[in-house]
């Protein structure tokens, strides 16, 4: 059992409330996965900014000060890249006005032991072990603005309770994936992806799903096509939520073992494991509320 809560805000006037709304949703899914948690927020001022790439690194302690990280990364990048590093909660964010690949290269050189848990121009990813509400508070979720938010509370089954095993898994620019369930053939799919040169960060089954989706998107699939293909290749139980810079997708396995409920209004699309996570959203009484059909891919774009 795990908990998922995701929110895509269609009405920009709700952007300032993204963090507080997501936090109220997260609060209701803690029981479903109290061992660790993760958050992904999109277009949050103070965490990401237009025209720059941002990397989210696991842990606040990278073995050197943020000033040293900034200086080290800046030295490897063009002089106008305006590299910057900061700590938010238990996450270190490094940004610069260069492409993501270049920034990854620089950060990997300065901090070879670091784990990159989020990357792109729009997303910041934060995850840790412990009570989900404490993790959210430590990162200051309540006060965050943004266009989309994704949260996950984990009850670990397929791999150990570690921050690295927490969701979301963000393995390509602005792409995040969270999972309630378990993939049974992840080792087989992992071996296939490794043969294609894909590098993994963890032993987690969900990371295989995320790497698979990233691999399909790279080959030209749309988000919907990538998730249809995932259904053909990965076996097991799943409710997945996948977000990109401007879209959100939900899919359940064809047996629909894991719960999901969606609320849609002119102002937002919200998805959660249980209705109680949606109950506090504005205008919920007039929202279109439905459970996604088994095996059907739903996508919404901003």
């Amino acid at each position: 059992m795990c908990g998922i809560a995701a929110l895509q805000l269609r009405n920009p006037s709700l952007h300032p409330r993204m963090g507080s709304l997501l936090s109220s949703m997260l609060c209701q899914i803690v029981d479903r996965g109290p061992d660790s948690a993760g958050l992904a927020v999109y277009n949050t001022p103070g965490l990401v900014s237009a025209g720059t790439s941002t990397l989210s690194l696991l842990g606040k302690d990278q073995g050197m000060t943020t000033a040293a990280i900034t200086a080290g990364v800046a030295a490897l990048l063009p002089s106008d890249a305006a590299a910057a590093a900061k700590v938010v909660g238990d996450t270190t964010l490094v940004s610069a006005a260069v492409g993501t690949d270049l920034l990854v290269k620089a950060v990997s050189e300065i901090l070879p032991g670091s784990t990159i848990i989020g990357r792109g121009g729009h997303v910041a990813v934060m995850k840790s072990v412990g009570h989900p509400m404490e993790i959210a508070a430590e990162h200051g979720l309540e006060a965050m603005a943004g266009s989309q938010g994704l949260s996950h509370t984990r009850m670990a089954t397929e791999s150990a309770v570690t921050a690295g095993g927490s969701h979301p898994f963000s393995v390509a620019d602005d792409l995040c994936l969270v999972h309630n369930g378990s993939f049974s053939n992840h080792a087989t799919v992992r071996r296939g992806l490794k043969r294609e040169g894909v590098v993994f960060d963890s032993e987690n089954d969900t990371e295989v799903g995320a790497r698979y989706v990233a691999s399909r998107l790279k080959q030209g699939d749309t988000l919907e096509e990538a998730l249809v293909n995932l259904g053909r290749v990965l076996d097991g139980f799943y409710t997945l939520v996948v977000t990109t810079a401007d879209s959100m997708a939900v899919v359940r396995d064809p047996i629909a073992c894991k719960p999901a409920i969606i609320a849609e209004t002119d102002d937002y699309v919200a998805m959660a494991s249980e209705y109680r996570a949606l109950a506090g959203l504005p205008g919920i009484n007039n929202a279109r509320i439905f459970e996604p059909e088994p095996g059907k891919v739903y996508t919404w774009s901003l």
Partner: protein, 240 residues
Amino acid sequence: MVTLTAPEAPAVDVLKETTVDLAASTVRELNQAIHNAEDGQAWTVTNPGGKHSLAVGINAGIAVTIDGHAGYYAAGMHQKGDVTINGNAGVGLAENIMSGTVHVRGDASQSAAATGHGGLVVIDGNAGARCGISMKGVDIVVGGNIGHMSAFMAQAGRLVVCGDAGDALGDSIYEARIYVKGTVASLGADCIEKPLREEHLTELAELLAAAGRTDNPAHFKRYGSARNLYHFSVHNSTSY
């Protein structure tokens, strides 16, 4: 089989009407209060907020109205009385219901009325997967569609679907009767279509009336057990 009649207003003393606001009270307080309730009382639950285990284990002839959406296992272990949910219900609605009625005006998630022994469960909207799984005598009327694997291993009772049924309807069914007005995506193992005879039209009319519906019984098809699987035969071993 119990003969059903159109629902009547429960004999409720309005002076005994009680409201429990779940924005102020806990689910445990609600359930304890209705366990202490006496026959004839009416209870209204406000601000349910999708909380789990609302109005479970009712053992008195009371009427409980939940104004809003309920979470998992609403009206579970229902022994007596009438529960109305003015909203949607989560997983496991009226699980193991013994008698009485449970009426959901919206949709119900999966495993509605699972293992129910008796009583009537009415869902005005759609029901998810596994509706009536292992039903043992409960009657279920769904106004909309039902999901896959519904009436799986159903042993007794009746399931009426006014919309469409998902895949593997009635898989490994024993003796329940299933009536579907719309299409059936596929039938499960040992579930077959059966003739709709006069006695079936009669019981279907009773069930529809009890659910407050006006659908024409003649527009339904009946499904039930081919009885090939439930006596073990080694020749069937590949079918299990």
